[in-house]
């Protein structure tokens, strides 16, 4: 067997062993992940949320990690919540926030928020109570930090976090109140 074949054989054996061990451990590990990542519902509007703020009565879904799953909401619901003076949190960076944001929103940049400890995260959120409804948003529907930010908040115990998928772009286009 020439050298190239031997190297190839070694590579194949190592890869196969890793694959087999990985698959076996993943299947018995309670924290194991599905073989194919499914993000198809990441941006999908939660149909139960369309009724607006009454959806507080909507059953809260818990993730397997034990926190309440944030809910994706459409612009109508976001506007209703805005009119009810619900807190809006903008996950974009400081300079983007300054260029324009939903009126009265608080800037919690995801990049700064994510690496912090739960205590520091709570500090960044100030005195916002855990039971309060929070609407997380970012640039627009191709932007994911609204989702990531919402999950970070849910993980530290906020149990009514909504994600306004349409984001600042849609809000601004509809002529809803903004600060510029």
């Amino acid at each position: 067997m020439n050298q190239r074949n031997k190297i190839l054989k070694e590579v194949l054996i190592i890869t196969l062993v890793s694959l087999i061990i990985g698959l076996i451990v993943n299947s018995v590990n309670p924290k194991g992940i599905p073989l194919v990542r499914d993000d198809s519902d990441r941006f999908k509007i939660d149909s139960a949320s369309v009724q607006g703020s009454e959806n507080k009565q909507v059953e809260k879904v818990k993730t397997k990690e034990g926190f309440v799953k944030p809910q994706n909401i459409p612009v109508e619901t976001a506007k209703k919540l805005f009119d009810e003076n619900v807190i809006f949190i903008d996950g974009r960076e400081d300079f983007e926030f300054k260029e324009g944001h939903i009126k009265g929103a608080i800037n919690i940049p995801y990049k700064e928020f994510y690496p912090k400890s739960p205590e520091e995260k709570q500090k960044m959120l100030g005195d916002i109570g855990k039971e309060k409804t929070i609407v997380s948003y970012c640039g627009g529907d191709d932007c994911e930090i609204s989702i990531d930010n919402a999950y970070e908040m849910a993980k530290i115990g906020y149990d009514d976090v909504k994600i306004y998928i349409g984001g600042y772009r849609e809000w601004n286009e509809l002529g809803y109140p903004v600060n510029k």
């Binding site: 054989k9 890869t15 890793s18 990985g22 194991g32 990542r37 993000d39 960076e93 970012c138 627009g140």
Partner: protein, 154 residues
Amino acid sequence: MNKILTNKYFLFLLRLILGVVFIYASLDKLYNQEEFSRAIYNYKFFPEIFINIFAIVVPYLEIICGILIITGIYLRGSSLIITLMLFFFIIALTQAYIRGLDISCGCFSLETVSNKSDILQRIIEDILLIIASIIVFIQSIKSKTINNKEKVNE
């Protein structure tokens, strides 16, 4: 220079560094695969269908190659896999770095690498590591070839 590169203690040091780095890097990923899968997803580099398989296999590939490269078992195979992995990491990081410079919507979030200077530092580290792994790979082929010739001569 050639003397240094073929010096067995120097080569062992390189193998030790590579092995320790790869074993260490795998531990966190093994502990939190979901987060690793998210991190890969955020690089927007791999086709979605392969992301989780990648997240399941790569940590074991790293830990096994790390152990093999230190112990010297399957040295050619393990150093080649490490070189290839580093090559992919460098490409993924570089495209993240380049795209990161164009952020205007704040849409891009990297969980493991939080800012541009971190990405640049990681790229430089990986380039140093790939140089080391290429040296180990080439020397492992050469020493095998020499051993084989010696065997033939005997």
